[in-house]
């Protein structure tokens, strides 16, 4: 089932989503670039669907918040602090690479034993995705089959046709949401136009990574001098980990709650590029050298994920390349290991 929604109706539609009881998140123009924000009923006009990439991955940030309380312990009792099972969240305007990254996070967090915090949030999340119309020099989703268009994993899917959007329904929940929102049905002309948009977006992508035989290549290159060379440039800041939509590692800390006398056990995002990540007692550290930490990051995405979860762990969103202060480029690392570039 597909519909057509005029561009100027997006705020009205967003208000409709909010009126159905969803907390709505959508991209707005931030000070420097687009950011995903909670949208109140009076802010729907601010929604801006004309963006290529946000710095932070929106779905990971929603489903696994950077800081999250696991439970509170107070007066000898443990209070579970699970997300409200009745809350409903909708995210509007997420690109295919980010939706595919969420599908990868599901493999980690829904693997048994399931992570109940992720599960509760995922169950209550309605995904209104947005196919890509534009790309930039960092995008390489086409190499990984994760964009620029989406085939599954959405409730509703928008494609920007200029003056209007094609809106495709991907789930029962999505159908329910649009059931009482009047939109004309799409025609074959709209579908053909969508195909043109996707084709153009696909052709605009200039960055590629060759994934043929990648696992064998990476495993064979574990002791390649490239890792040492990269360590000369890398600062170990972990920005790549923080902006990666599939990086799922977390640290766990106890925090005293000064007003109640209780303790909160929290988890916070962690990253394998950080020195402390593999540190153990008595000063031991299994990845003391930056070269080992870079190798871990690249191999986890491009090699180990396949054994662990059945697909590569990269969606080609380009964030790690864009944000690296040292200019390290995961696609170029692979190309160097292939001997394709110096």
């Amino acid at each position: 089932m597909s519909f057509v929604i005029r561009r100027e109706e997006i705020p009205h539609f967003s208000r409709h989503v909010i009126s159905k009881g969803y907390a709505l998140f959508a991209p707005v123009k931030g000070e420097y670039r687009h950011v995903f924000r909670r949208i109140g009923e009076n802010q729907v006009e601010e929604i801006s669907l004309n963006y290529v990439r946000t710095t932070m991955p929106p779905l990971k940030t929603l489903l696994i918040p950077p800081r999250e309380t696991l439970f509170r312990i107070k007066d000898g009792r443990i209070e579970e602090t699970l997300p409200d099972p009745n809350s409903r969240t909708a995210i509007l305007g997420v690109h295919p690479c980010d939706v595919n990254a969420m599908n990868l996070l599901e493999r980690v967090y829904m693997d048994r034993p399931k992570d109940p915090y992720f599960e509760a949030r995922r169950k209550n999340l309605l995904v209104i995705a947005l196919n890509c119309k534009n790309s930039d020099e960092y995008c390489f989703c086409t190499s990984l089959g994760t964009g620029p268009s989406l085939e599954e994993g959405f409730d509703l899917l928008l494609t920007d046709l200029g003056d209007r959007f094609l809106l495709e329904v991907g789930s029962k929940r999505g159908a329910e949401l649009v059931g009482d929102f009047y939109m004309p049905q799409a025609t074959s002309v709209d579908i053909l136009e969508k195909n043109d948009v996707i084709r153009e977006a696909r052709n605009s992508i200039r960055r590629h990574v060759n994934t043929a035989g990648l696992q064998r290549l990476m495993t064979g290159a574990l002791y390649n001098p490239v890792w040492n060379e990269l360590a000369e440039k890398c600062t170990g800041c972990g920005a790549c980990n923080m902006v990666c939509p599939t990086c799922f590692c977390f640290n766990v800390v106890d925090e005293p709650e000064l007003d109640t006398g209780g303790v909160l056990r929290k988890r916070t995002w962690d990253g394998c590029l950080l020195w402390e990540y593999a540190e153990v007692a008595l000063g031991g550290n299994f990845r003391r050298d930056l070269s080992a930490r870079i190798r871990q990051f690249v191999n986890h995405k491009m090699n180990y994920w396949l054994n662990q979860y059945g697909s590569l762990g990269c969606v080609g969103c380009g964030r790690c390349i864009e944000q690296c202060p040292a200019g390290i480029d995961i696609t170029r690392v692979v190309a160097r290991l292939r001997g394709e570039t110096p």
């Binding site: 439970f71 000898g76 967090y109 109940p116 495993t219 990540y277 007692a281 871990q296 191999n299």
Partner: protein
Amino acid sequence: MLENPYIPVFAKVVSVRNENSTTKTFTLRMVNGGAMRFRPGQFDIVSCFGVGESAFSICSSPEEKDVFENTVRRVGRVTTALFNTKPGDVLGVRGPYGKPWPLEKAAGNDLILIAGGMGLAPLRPVIHYVARHRDLYGSVDILYGARTPGDMIYTYEFDSWRNIPNTRLYLTVDYVPPDVSWEHDVGVVTELLRYVKPRMRYTTVFICGPEVMMKFASQMLLRIGFYPSEVYLSLERRMKCGVGKCGHCQIGYKYVCKDGPVFNMEEIGLLPDVIE
């Protein structure tokens, strides 16, 4: 309600035993009356609320259902907080986690247990299990090394281990302080292998200790003719969840918490970052 793998259950400290100046063994009992049903080689994660969690080998006899034990060396914040607990104090416990030593697979074989320092902790349940099921295994050789005689743990059980039929305990230390008497070996634990005449293809080796010690021990075993598939190591890594989510314990594509901590040498032979 959803099952929550991060929430510990309460366990009460029943007693605390001094092993040496930096190491204590805590005997714990579940507050809810439940049991820690574990197999030798598995670990648990102990919470000191307000300080944090750490993973420890469960080191008591697996047959003991009522209480269980963790041997803890004071090395950081959580272990220091644990050291300050007294009988009656309540801690949080999760587990057991991980893959145990392959005691079923090794049945009928001789066993060589090689431990360095604190590495004796996950092997102690093996020794207790073998003592209880003595006819399941052939000869048992326990090789244990520590820095000094005073660094050894479970010394009060050594005599009873020596009294297990067809079982020998060999001890070595790196260094004997001047005022200490020591009638055993001095040197690295791998040198104790010269006392053992393994029946090749009928012997299984379990090793736990500092990673560098495991590296030398396993290399020597391969040199004298063991197959990698006959040698098992118990690895240590930073762990935050114990259930394959937090990512910290990964070695290559393996998670130490759920694919290990006990690994066959064959499994880990080609993985990176194994030995520091």
